[in-house]
Amino acid sequence: MATTYKNLLSSDLANTRTLLHEAIPITGSIISGTYGGAGTALGSEPHIKTYSHGMFESVYDYPYLSSSANQIFDVTVGYASTSPVSASANSQNSKKINIYNQMAQYLVGYDITGSIKKFTMPPTNATMKECYFIPFGRLLTKDEIKKGSFTLELGVSGTTAFTHGDALFAERIKLTDTSGSSGYYVDSPTGEYGVLFASTSAGSTALLQGETLGSATTNPAVGLLYYQAGVAVLSASIFNEGSTSGHLASALYVNHPRVTSVGDATTLGFTLAASGATMAQMADGLRNRIYNISYNNTTELNSTIYFCRVGHGDFNYSSNPTYLTGSQIRVKTRAADTPVTYFTTVGLYSADNELLAVAKLSEPLRKDPTNEITLRVRLDY
């Protein structure tokens, strides 16, 4: 009997897993400067979405009212209730504490008493009580951030001017998870995380307290990167100078860098900003100091490979209407001629003949009784 289907045997199936990486470069001009530029107040740019609750703001790659805009990441800030910064008189004090606790319970988890643990830096076991949080959108992060690929460059110029502009980026530090590919941690409830180390990336001298230019061992740990969660946690001390438990070189920073547009114009590091500025203003401050971000994402592809084995006696005739002329096979002149077909498509079917998947060849393949072909069809999930 003529047949149009061929059964797949269990030996014709194979499963495999592939990791696919994409490079995600996010230029700082998208984050702070492209839309609105110097003429628009911080936080009012059309690609920055703020919320009435004021607990975070979202950065889009395009004015967010456009349907083609994609959310890139969010920015928020918080501190622990036990932080010396915490004070009931602070602007949005309880919300800043709530955000810290929310992120901590999600990313760090609970201790044996059920209390929320605080963010700690594994190399030094130092507690991070004041943090910036940057949750990246799944659209870009996909399944996870590739370990060892993350870079965040921040402008740390101590200029007192705080507007859009290049002056903030004359002196820059770069945060990387350089140890991520070989030295990451697994005690987070959300998966693996690595440490972000800072180093001077632009400027004439070492900008960090105790840093020796070119020596990775002197780079301070300033944050954590949660790979599967796609969240960067930055210690707020990165914007404080060394004599006040910060990471910036005391000799260079008589004043802390300004990280908000409100409050004292000369000595406003994170510690002071946290009291007077709202969370949105502090998010604006961090965003305005981001020079660029780049990382590679990871997509985990689980694949099933179907080996469609076409034997020499299989599929040598066609039901294509042009195959026949008056019921006679067009490619044959006499019965003894070899039948020949050309196929472009492989259809994968269920037991009840429903077409579940289809694969197209880039060019027709000839099939006749003198050849055998094995087609390797891979379906990714």
Partner: protein, 309 residues
């Protein structure tokens, strides 16, 4: 869908169809790939040049240069013509499916429209069933009460060639024993020519296309062998004959009771009515696809579902 890049190595562009995704989403185990088939939808075998002056290596030069489209996700848009496996290489003729309009007037198409006209309710049946002289009109199927008329659709299978006598038996390898009928499930369903059997739907896909399987032996009211081996004008197949498929269409309750689908996907046409006058009808134009499950050959039968305005 664009063409696939065919400048380098052969690549395979594979996607799940919409039905595949639907079954995957169901999570009930219905997504299980157990077989494969090969298709040649893009190939035009008329380009096979057996008389090429440079020899047999050049016969298929144009065919092999055929550009191939990317894979369609729509399950009904791909694999329209399949390759066949037949355990013999010395076959010169292959069977086809052919609409038999010659058997009698009850199997002919509607002469004015060139389709089968399906009246969806009693009023329309009365309006279109007969001409002004009281003669039953060919090609008008009774959608609400299929038994009211003998009109039906008949598809014959066999070698449609005058080079082989119909007195010769069709090679058993080439006899089609199972047919697949696909039609829009919103419009109607398949019933037997005696109206005694409503065919069971095998499955309805995500595009509301219902598939019926009808086999010789298990569905004798639909599929039977063609026993006429004479050179008869009542037969559509000139050469050796295999099986025939007879069926009618019963319209859906939705078409019968509502104008929604007519207003959404239909149009309006005028037909000659029993009174001799031309009357206006809401019409949905569709096709019913009949496929030989074993031989893969298929035909699309044009139909119009009509409702008196």
């Amino acid at each position: 869908m664009g063409f696939l890049d065919n400048s380098g190595d052969i690549i395979l562009d594979a996607v799940l169809t919409d039905t595949g995704r639907m079954r995957l989403a169901k999570g009930d185990g219905s997504f299980k790939i157990v077989k494969f088939a090969l298709g040649d939808d893009e190939i035009n075998y008329e380009l096979y040049n057996k008389n090429h002056s440079s020899g047999s290596a050049y016969y298929d030069l144009e065919i092999l240069q055929t550009p191939v489209l990317e894979a369609f996700a729509n399950n009904t848009a791909s694999m329209k013509s399949k390759l066949m496996s037949i355990p013999r290489n010395n076959i010169l003729f292959l069977p086809v499916l052919k609409l038999n309009e010659a058997f009698d007037t009850s199997t002919a198409k509607h002469s004015d429209t060139g389709t089968f006209l399906i009246a969806v309710n009693t009023a329309t049946e009365t309006e279109l069933e007969k001409d002004s002289s009281g003669n039953i009109l060919a090609g008008v199927l009774m959608g609400e009460s299929p038994g009211r008329s003998a009109n039906r659709i008949r598809v014959d299978q066999g070698l449609d060639t005058d080079q082989i006598s119909p007195a010769r038996a069709l090679d058993p390898l080439l006899v089609e024993t199972q047919y697949m009928i696909q039609m829009d499930n919103r419009l109607g369903n398949v019933v037997s020519k005696t109206d005694a059997f409503r065919a069971s739907v095998s499955f309805v896909d995500d595009d509301s296309v219902a598939t019926y399987y009808l086999s010789r032996g298990t569905d004798p009211e639909y599929v039977t062998s063609i026993t006429d081996t004479s050179d008869s004008a009542l037969q559509a197949i000139q050469g050796p004959r295999g099986t025939k498929l007879n069926f009618k269409i019963q319209t859906s309750l939705e078409l019968n009771t509502s104008d929604y689908l007519f207003n959404t996907i239909g149009t309006t046409e005028n037909f000659d009515s029993v009174s001799g006058a031309t009357t206006s009808h809401k019409v949905i134009t569709s096709t019913i696809r009949v496929i030989g499950v074993n031989t893969g050959y298929r035909i699309d039968i044009p139909v119009k579902f009509a409702k008196k305005v």
